[in-house]
């Protein structure tokens, strides 16, 4: 099965996000008053896996090891089947 994963890496709430704060103040100057802005990363990965469980396991490993730094970041992902195996 071919899956597409949409991975969202976000700063942990305790980590300051000066870039988010700068964007918030720019929005304020544009007269958009928002409560908070936090900037994260979005990663798309396409991978082969037997089933959703295997795909999730692989993705958790890649996120834990490389895509996110657990000291400062959290992550979550969404999985979608993009290609059924040819029978």
């Amino acid at each position: 099965m071919k899956y597409q994963a949409r991975i969202f890496v976000t700063l942990r709430p305790s980590v300051l996000d000066p870039a988010g704060t700068a964007v918030q103040s720019a929005l304020k100057q544009m007269d958009y008053h928002v409560d908070s802005v936090r900037i994260g990363k979005y990663v798309e990965i396409i991978l082969d896996a037997l089933d959703e469980a295997e795909a999730s396991q692989k993705l958790n490993e890649t996120c834990d090891k490389l895509l996110a730094n657990p000291v400062i970041e959290n992550y979550r992902f969404e999985l979608a089947v993009i290609e059924e195996p040819k029978s």
Partner: protein, 232 residues
């Protein structure tokens, strides 16, 4: 005794370090390409500053998986010395050799300046030529130098006396005004529990000869040479 200096694609302070260890201190020094895996001939490994792998994803995140890094872990386990400077500090935190992380500077600017630092320990090989509480001035040059760790890790660092350098004012006061990048507890450099691995954002190698405007960094390298000679 031999210094080894890791070189990743994008490292740019490797030769600066070599000019201190080889040029000024006349110690055997070799540059180690990131694909090399035998570093057993080296007593001190310096992980230099720069922008390894373009700082893609996070600073140091990709360098951490370079082939040489497994050997670096072994080097640390053996109790041999490792000095991470700037991007090298980021690589050491990403690889778990040091705790915490370096994130975007508080005020978003890339800072290129000279920063006064208070030396918090003088009992390490790296700092034995300084005095505790001495104020030294070293260049800093980073965009992601804001030290972050959660409360538990911070407490552990303080309890174990692992903070080696803090940003301070000209007379050694630690406060927000003297904190260039928002680092928690004004932390500029830390070591591991054993004291053989140290990471710091300031650049001692850029302050080792007076023609460069300062020599406060030279003593760090001299301390290393001295302790290796004693133990040889």
């Amino acid at each position: 005794m031999k210094f080894g200096i890791l070189v990743f694609p994008g490292s740019n302070c490797d030769r600066d370090v070599a000019s201190v260890t080889s040029g000024i201190l006349k110690q055997p020094t070799r540059l180690i390409w990131h694909t090399d895996t035998d570093i057993s001939d080296c007593d001190v490994i310096v992980v230099p500053g720069g922008f390894s792998y373009g700082d893609y994803l996070r600073c140091g995140a990709i360098a951490r998986f370079a082939p040489v890094m497994r050997s670096l872990q072994e080097h640390a386990t053996k109790g041999k010395y490792i000095l991470g400077i700037c991007n090298g500090f980021q690589i050491l935190t990403e690889s778990g050799l040091l705790q915490g992380a370096l994130v975007r500077n508080r005020d978003l600017h890339f800072i290129c300046d000279r920063a006064p630092l208070r030396v918090e320990r003088d009992d390490l090989a790296f700092t034995q030529k300084y005095q505790k509480q001495q104020v030294i001035t070293l260049p800093i040059a980073h965009g992601e130098g804001c030290y972050f760790a959660d409360a538990d890790i911070l407490k552990e660092l303080e309890d174990n006396n692992q903070v080696v350098f803090r940003y301070c004012d000209a007379i050694g006061n630690i406060n927000d005004e003297a904190n260039p990048n928002g680092s928690l507890e004004n932390i500029a450099g830390i070591c591991n529990k054993q004291g053989n691995v140290i990471g710091m954002m300031p650049h001692p190698e850029r302050a080792a000869e007076s023609i460069l405007g300062g020599t406060d960094g030279k003593a760090l390298f001299e301390g290393l040479v001295e302790s290796l000679l004693v133990n040889a």
